[in-house]
């Protein structure tokens, strides 16, 4: 029998992997990928809660849909920005983006 906790832990692992990808990869696109993983793990959380605790309602799923929309929008804007910066500096390495500091 798979309980709620297993799903939550699964989501947590996914979240942390995504986080690791987001902070440890040079390529801005890879960073965005990591973020997507994090958002997905949240969705697992939401749907699992919905399923186990309030199966007769769909609040969690509604929330998850919204999250999906937001994720899509963020990626779209993010990629546009990456494209823009690539045109200017010919790099997608986030470590090179340190003109603004101190």
């Amino acid at each position: 029998m798979v309980g709620l906790n297993e799903y939550l832990i699964f989501a947590a692992i996914l979240f942390c992997i995504g986080l690791y990808g987001a902070v440890a990869k040079k390529n801005a696109v890879a960073v965005l990928m990591g973020i997507e993983l994090m958002l997905n793990s949240v969705n697992i959380n939401l749907i699992a809660f919905n399923r186990f605790l309030t199966p007769s309602e769909v609040t969690g799923q509604v929330f998850a849909i919204i999250v999906v929309v937001v994720a899509a929008a963020e990626v779209a804007v993010g990629l546009a920005l990456i494209l823009n910066i690539y045109r200017q500096r010919l790099t997608t390495d986030v470590n090179d983006l340190d003109w603004l500091k101190w």
Binding site: I13, C16, L37, N43, I65, V69
Partner: protein, 164 residues
Amino acid sequence: MVSPITFWIVAGVTILAALAVVSLKNLIHSALWLVAAFVGVAATYLMLEAEFLAAVQVLVYAGAISILIVFGVMLTRRGDIRESNLFTRYRVSGGVISLGLLVVVVSSIMKSKWIISREIVPENNVGLLAQNLLGQYVIPFEVAAILLLVALVGAIIIAKEVRD
């Protein structure tokens, strides 16, 4: 209810795919593994009897987002693709913090007790979802539309090449 074996297989594959995404050095490979991870998540949704979400997941993520990402990879290609996805100097510290977060979250989860509902998922799950989205949750739904519009306009403004 889903059998534990199915769950563990799906979860294991998804986690492995995610690990591959963050550990591979070739961005293309990472992107492909990301698609796999998204599919795994969709499978998880299915196990949780959220069929509509699973469909959305496959369509939006595995389809649209992955394509967007590949698109991005193509546009930003420079140098050797096999060395396109390297680690930063936060390889270790990032790992420590991620692991720390994992420990904190998991230990908190382990201490939680849930009152599991005995109710079953209603048949007309998708219909209910539709009613909710256009009824009670109409505001977020409408705003999401505006949000997409904004993102669209923004992406165009920013990505459009300047010709001066």
